[in-house]
């Protein structure tokens, strides 16, 4: 719907001014400046800059530790996105049924949305702690967090758990748009529940799925920092040292400004790549209601 408009020359710019002052000073300028710094080496104490071309990028991509972080971040992200979307879609389908008490189920399944990654880290730290973690007790296996491969599994579980509420909200919203008569008609025509799900419901969920794919990918790449810092600090032996944690360490602990700026640019390109991919796929393949 097109809104009727007022006539004014200056007012719209005045209205947009506050937003753009913030955007320019704290978003666009820092982003461009970060990209510029990725081409320089910066002295940790004097701050003296020296143009270095692609030196920082050559450096990070020939660093086996960075490449390790790059690899595990990718695996972490794929796992968090797939598990997170699968579980939340299943739960949302259950929550979409018309049965008694649904309002309460809904509240109690969505609320982890309000918890932070750091809280998730603290809770999972306790659940899996080697001394008397509940999970260790019931599984008879107590070294979940002291072994690299299982620690990696736990940060995935914690990240999925924390983001379920967010994903469920979006799937529930999308499910409201699925026409019930289409499902009924298909049912009368003899389509079983699985067939109905894949040929009708899933098509209606696909725009939301693609939206969540991007949101969960950026969540996995960026928001996992608090989780890692509280749960594993990147360990044991770098097994959970994701890109974002490495970036923090290189910039803040090791004071490698140019190097860290290059890492930021790599993260940015990852986000842009994923977003562009999303837009292209959405336009071609996704069914819109």
């Amino acid at each position: 719907m097109k809104q009727s408009t007022f006539k004014a020359d200056v007012l719209p710019y005045v209205l947009l001014l506050p937003t753009f002052i913030i955007l320019i000073v704290f978003l666009f300028y820092p982003a461009l400046e970060t990209f510029r710094l990725s081409l320089f080496t910066v002295h940790p104490f004097t701050g003296a800059e020296r143009f270095a071309g692609l030196y920082n990028f050559k450096n990070i991509f020939s660093n086996t530790e960075y490449m390790h972080s790059f690899g595990i971040s990718f695996i972490f992200t794929v796992a968090v996105v797939l598990l997170g979307l699968a579980f939340s879609m299943m739960i949302a389908l259950l929550l979409n049924e018309r049965i008694k008490g649904m309002k309460y189920y809904r509240s109690f399944l969505i609320w982890p949305y309000a918890l932070s990654p750091a809280i998730a880290g603290a809770l999972f730290n306790f659940l899996f702690n080697p001394a008397n973690g509940i999970i260790g007790y019931f599984t008879g296996f107590r070294t979940w967090l002291t072994q690299g491969s299982t620690a990696f599994l736990i940060i995935i579980l914690a990240a999925v758990w924390k983001n379920l509420g967010y994903n469920i909200v979006f799937y529930l919203t999308a499910l409201r748009n699925v026409p019930r008569d289409a499902l009924e008609a298909a049912s009368i025509d003899g389509a079983g529940p699985l067939r109905r799900f894949f040929s009708i419901t899933f098509a209606f969920l696909s725009p939301t799925t693609f939206f969540l794919l991007v949101m969960n990918t950026t969540y996995a790449y960026f928001s996992s920092f608090g989780l890692i810092d509280v749960l594993t600090e990147g360990g044991p032996a770098r097994s959970t040292n994701l890109l974002i944690y490495q970036l923090y360490r290189d910039f803040f602990v090791n004071s490698k400004t140019g190097y860290a700026a290059a890492e930021s640019l790599v993260l940015f390109l990852l986000v842009v790549g994923i977003t562009v991919l999303q837009f292209q796929t959405t336009e071609k393949k996704v069914h819109y209601q």
Partner: protein, 274 residues
């Protein structure tokens, strides 16, 4: 479709299982937060609550100045939320109710800002905030977050559904744009404002990386960092006290969430529409 009794029962069973799994870590943290150090460390683990609740919460509160951190987090989250709501209301009003040069490019720039989360610009953001003298100050934790693409889009969606006749009628009555904004548009936007407030309050309350870098004195720390500090301070794994701290820091966002749940759901429904 009508469900058979068995189907309904199995849906209940599956939902209860899901609730159980999702709530388990938090229920456990409530129970552990009432146990003494030895109880919380006992093996097999003790699941039922005990009587050390008050002392654990007191210790957690005092060990890392949790009170001060709660104030900091609340002050920052509320200030950011108010700023974001105001700025995005104004921006959305400009985009929906006016024609002006450069509209498309300005809209595109706001869209681009979604691709620039803090980690992408953290190196230079740290320098900018440092040059402004805002490190270790509230301003450094508040002002950089005032612009909101999410908020602007959310309000644009809302404003577009307001009938055009309202604008036409108010123009005929000689109503100025800002009068229309305050008298007619704002009252119609209450639930969207509520939704954005929930989203942003929770988002800022839960932030970790930027507050960790932008502050270094104990009296400027926020609660999320406080959890880590509490875990370091209680290095003997005094889980009772740590979980007490976790419970305290969970309460404000959960309160906001449960109180404003309805407008939150509405806001989300709008946000996911293309």
């Amino acid at each position: 479709m009508k469900r058979t009794k068995i189907q309904v029962l199995s849906i209940h069973a599956l939902l209860i299982l899901a609730v159980f799994i999702i709530c388990l870590p938090v229920i456990l943290s409530l129970s552990i937060s009432t146990q003494s150090e030895t109880q919380a460390l006992s093996f097999p683990p003790r699941l039922v609550p005990s009587s050390h609740m008050v002392s654990n919460y007191k210790t957690a509160w005092n060990t890392v100045h949790l009170g001060r951190m709660m104030f900091n987090s609340a002050f920052i989250a509320i200030s950011v939320t108010i700023g974001k709501v105001i700025m995005s209301l104004l921006a959305a009003f400009a985009f929906t109710h006016f024609e002006f040069k450069g509209k498309n490019i300005l809209f595109f720039l706001i869209l681009i800002s979604l691709l620039l989360p803090v980690p992408v610009r953290i190196v230079a953001l740290f320098n900018v905030v440092g040059k402004l003298g805002w490190l270790n100050h509230y301003a450094g934790l508040i002002v950089p977050f005032w612009a909101s693409a999410t908020g602007t889009f959310l309000f644009i969606q809302r404003f577009k559904t307001v009938p055009s006749e309202l604008v036409d009628a108010s123009q005929m009555d000689g109503c100025r744009p800002m009068q229309y904004f305050f008298r007619i548009l704002l009252p119609l936007t209450k639930s969207t404002i509520g939704a954005l407030s929930v989203i942003e309050f929770i988002y800022i309350w839960n932030q970790y990386l930027w507050p960790l870098m932008a502050t270094n004195s104990d009296n400027m720390r926020v609660v999320q960092i406080g959890i880590k500090m509490l875990m370091n301070a209680e290095s003997s794994n005094n889980w009772g006290v740590i979980m007490a701290g976790v419970v305290i820091t969970m309460i404000p966002p959960l309160l906001v969430f449960f109180i404003m749940q309805d407008s939150f759901m509405k806001g989300f429904a709008l946000q996911s529409e293309k």
